[in-house]
């Protein structure tokens, strides 16, 4: 349990409520920036990715180097800053994990990448003391080879529209006062003090905000459905069970700006008349759990949560619960079962959770990203929110861009942005396995994770939004975007997702439990060379059957990756089935390594490398592979300097 922080800049003790109120009354503009943004500061990214790369060492080194250089180092934010102060703080995930650890110097507008603790003396000496830029630590755009000084000229950031992620980049996630000084909890206060519940629901409905967790259901309608329920007890749950492999936007928000999630929860609770809220966080995100718990404790200490919220007499509770590792718990009714201490199995709807949810009471469940949008909508108004994005899908969406692209990371763009812009402009283009730009390497993008589908070259100019994606057999999902190059076998990718959903199927519906298993067996037949036309027909037939015969979203969407790859990469399936050939060489069973008799000089290197003794041949005579003994491991091909081993 963290100790209460001492109140800086104020000698006399103050009551928590008074303190919070005084912070909330400092004027800020709509973008949340206050004069405090101008204080000179060094921000070290402390997201999961940067921490893994040694961000904490960098932070500690800054502490000692800055003090050593005679700088007046401030670790806590205070409303009145002296001119010679430099603040050192951590931030949440800045979404550019591949280039971490990241260090920003504000207001100089400098972003340093891949900073090691050895680089810290240079940054302190040259940048903080002399106002110069340390060139070698700047990010180089792989497309133009130009150095980028900061966010403005960095194509990864400058082409985004970061609203939800904006504050993750520089706010100290462990400092509630900083959040308040940047305009935080003002929307919550407005919702409690100035707005009636129906007014809040109407504002959210008017804004057109839709669930960012996958379904895209209008948030305002969900809230209204719960608001009109006649019950003294209601609940709001924040869905932070980001199970989609390859998506990490919720992790970043919970790690980087946990108070924005709590504020969203409070507004939702006020809108439906609930006084208990709960954040359900995935167990694989220990840092997010820790930061959310800390944020709740801090909010309670400041009187934001607890009894008599903002002097209204209303109470508000928030709990953080750690999940236990089940993808299906991302489904609303399964999550409710899990919170009640049961196995996470979905149940039929209706009744909808808004009517009968947790402990049989009206409950709404919103995704982390959805809730993080709420306070902004109340601050800027629904019209201003609608001005961004498309008519049916207003606002921005964060995508987790990963896989074979030059810049992997979190990308927040307005709905309606094209895939081309995301992959080529922001992502910097497709790469090969070694990470080098591969100009013609684009093959496909898998969107929406195991529930989603593939987008190919023909979709590069499709504006991404809920409806447009559904029309081409994909979905926004939680926003995972995995770029794949020409060296990726689409059948294997479909199998990868099928294996995931098969493992995660809760087992309630027969078609999901048994169907996914059989789909996986059929895909194995394709990959291992046992398939025929019948296999392909069965795959499609069974895929549609599983979609029709499953209760929840997991089963309904589980066949999507198979059906969508079959739709767009039919040729590749046919090669596997009829020609017993995988064009990428990834499907081992279909490989038939042979030694090119022209190229082989009979040096014997491959004989030595072969673990099963499958290669034979006289010295200085071309060698041969015994197909029966060969396990297709590729050791011979790696050992041969003349590239004489082919077909592997």
């Amino acid at each position: 349990m963290p100790l209460p922080r001492p109140v800086l800049s104020s000698p006399q003790p103050r009551t928590p409520m008074h303190n919070a109120e005084s912070l909330l009354s400092i004027p800020v503009n709509v973008n949340g920036s206050s004069p405090l943004a101008q204080v000179r500061r060094v921000v070290v990214c402390a997201g999961t990715g940067c921490m893994a790369n040694g961000a904490m060492k960098v932070f500690e080194r800054f502490k000692s180097e800055m003090a050593g250089a005679g700088l007046h180092v401030i670790l806590e934010l205070r409303p009145e800053a002296a001119d010679d102060e430099v603040r050192l703080s951590k931030s949440g995930c800045q979404g550019f994990c591949q280039m971490g650890p990241l260090v920003s110097v504000i207001p100089d507008g400098i972003l340093y990448t891949k900073v090691r603790s050895e680089d810290v003396p240079d940054i302190v000496g040259q940048t903080l003391m002399a106002g110069q830029v340390v060139e070698r630590l700047l990010y180089k755009d792989p497309a133009t080879r130009k150095s980028c000084r900061g966010l403005e000229d960095n194509p990864f950031y400058s082409r985004q529209n970061r609203l939800v992620l904006h504050e993750c980049g520089f706010l100290d996630p462990e400092d509630i006062r900083e959040f308040m000084l940047h305009g935080g909890y003002r929307a919550a206060r407005k919702a409690f003090v100035e707005m009636a519940p129906e007014e809040i629901c109407k504002t959210i409905l008017d804004s057109g905000l839709r669930g960012r967790g996958g379904g895209g259901f209008p948030t305002g309608r969900k809230w209204e459905a719960a608001r009109i329920q006649n019950s003294t007890k209601k609940y709001v749950i924040c869905n932070g069970d980001e199970g989609d492999p390859g998506a990490f936007m919720n992790r970043s928000v919970m790690e980087g700006n946990p108070h924005s999630v709590i504020e969203g929860l409070m507004i939702a609770a006020r809108a439906i008349g609930a006084n208990e809220t709960l954040v359900y966080v995935r167990a694989e995100y220990p840092l997010a759990v820790e930061r959310m718990r800390r944020a709740v404790t801090d909010a309670e200490r400041e009187g934001i949560l607890g009894k008599n919220v903002f002097g209204t007499g209303l109470s508000m509770k928030c709990e953080v619960m750690e999940g236990a590792g089940a993808f299906v718990c991302g489904e609303e009714t399964a999550m409710i079962a899990s919170i009640e201490g049961q196995r996470g199995m979905p149940r039929p709807k209706p009744p909808f959770p808004a009517q009968s949810g947790l402990w049989g009471k009206p409950t709404i469940i919103n995704n982390v990203e959805t809730l993080a949008h709420v306070s902004r909508i109340l601050n800027i108004g629904p019209e201003a929110f609608r001005a961004i994005g498309t008519k049916e899908s207003p606002g921005t969406k964060t995508f987790a861009l990963t896989g074979h692209v030059a810049n992997t990371g979190l990308v927040e763009v307005p709905f309606g942005t094209t895939l081309r812009k995301i992959v080529f402009n922001i992502g910097g283009g497709v790469t090969d396995d070694a990470g080098k730009i591969w100009k013609t390497g684009f093959k496909a993008v898998q969107i929406g994770g195991p529930s989603g589908g593939c987008l190919t070259e023909e979709h590069l100019d499709l504006p991404l939004a809920y409806e447009s994606l559904r029309a081409v057999g994909a979905m926004v999902g939680s926003g995972g975007l995995v770029a794949m190059n020409q060296g990726t076998c689409m059948v294997s990718i479909a199998r990868f997702f099928m294996q995931f959903t098969q493992r995660e199927s809760c087992g309630k519906c027969v078609l999901c439990r048994e169907g996914t298993k059989q789909l996986l067996v059929l895909l194995d037949d394709v990959i291992e060379g046992r398939a025929d036309q019948n296999t392909l027909d069965l795959l499609e037939k069974l895929g549609h059957a599983v979609q029709a015969g499953s209760l929840c979203g997991l089963g309904k969407t589980a066949p999507n990756p198979v059906l969508s790859t079959m739709r767009y990469f039919r040729k590749e399936y046919e090669e596997h089935v009829f020609e017993k050939r995988c064009r990428t060489g990834r499907c081992k069973a279909l490989l038939s390594p042979e030694i090119n008799q022209e190229k082989c000089k009979g040096c014997g290197m491959c004989i030595k490398a072969c673990p099963t003794g499958a290669i034979s041949g006289e010295k200085k005579q071309p060698h041969h592979i015994n197909a029966e003994l060969c396990i297709k491991c590729g050791a011979c091909a790696a050992a041969c300097k003349l590239h004489a081993v082919e077909g592997i």
Partner: protein, 186 residues
């Protein structure tokens, strides 16, 4: 590993289980956090503890067992001293996480069904996604994340741990009956 320290621990750990049950007021609704806290103590969920939990919460053992087997996070068998988790999320998968897994399994002699080495030093398991996709492929060795991993780097990490273990082993053998260095670390 030596069994004596475990016996000594037993009574103390049982006390902790009682404490955990009390913290959640012995209510069945707290079953998942209760099991999480118990697993934190034992590193896994021993069968007799599950039975005890069922009795304490006044629910059928099947309910507790059902929950314990449903969620991937719960382990019903003890894990090795060093837990290696290979991320097999989409991003890691397309960036070749499987060769890393294969290399580790081959080196340590583990497999899909038997994840822990007989000497109880290593457990090799996969995890769906750690959310560190920007660093793909990723492995976690004893809670420390390593990004952009290759089979060679993964094997080097194992070598390092094995060297340390051998040193510890030699030190504890030299120290005869004194409590082993491992307990000091725990």
């Amino acid at each position: 590993m030596a069994s004596t320290p475990m016996v000594v621990d037993r009574a103390e750990k049982f006390q902790k289980v009682c404490g955990i049950l009390d913290r959640y007021a012995r209510r069945p609704s707290g079953l998942i956090p209760i099991l999480q806290a118990i697993q934190h103590e034992y590193q896994y969920l021993p069968e007799e503890v599950l039975t005890y939990v069922a009795t304490s919460l006044d629910v059928p053992p099947a309910r507790v067992y059902g929950v314990a087997t449903f969620y991937a996070h719960f382990a019903l068998a003890p894990k090795g001293k060093h837990v290696i988790r290979i991320c097999d999320g989409t991003a890691c998968h397309v960036k070749q996480s499987l060769p890393v897994l294969d290399a580790l399994r081959q080196k340590l002699g583990t497999s899909e069904t038997s994840k822990t080495t007989p000497d109880m030093l290593f457990t090799v398991e996969t995890v769906a996604c750690l959310g560190a996709c920007g660093l793909a492929p990723v492995i976690v060795v004893d809670e420390q994340i390593y990004g952009q991993i290759t089979p060679a780097r993964a094997l080097a990490l194992i070598d390092e741990i094995q060297v340390q273990e051998r040193a510890l082993h030699a030190a504890s053998a030299a120290g005869a009956e004194q409590p082993s260095a491992e307990d000091a670390h725990a």
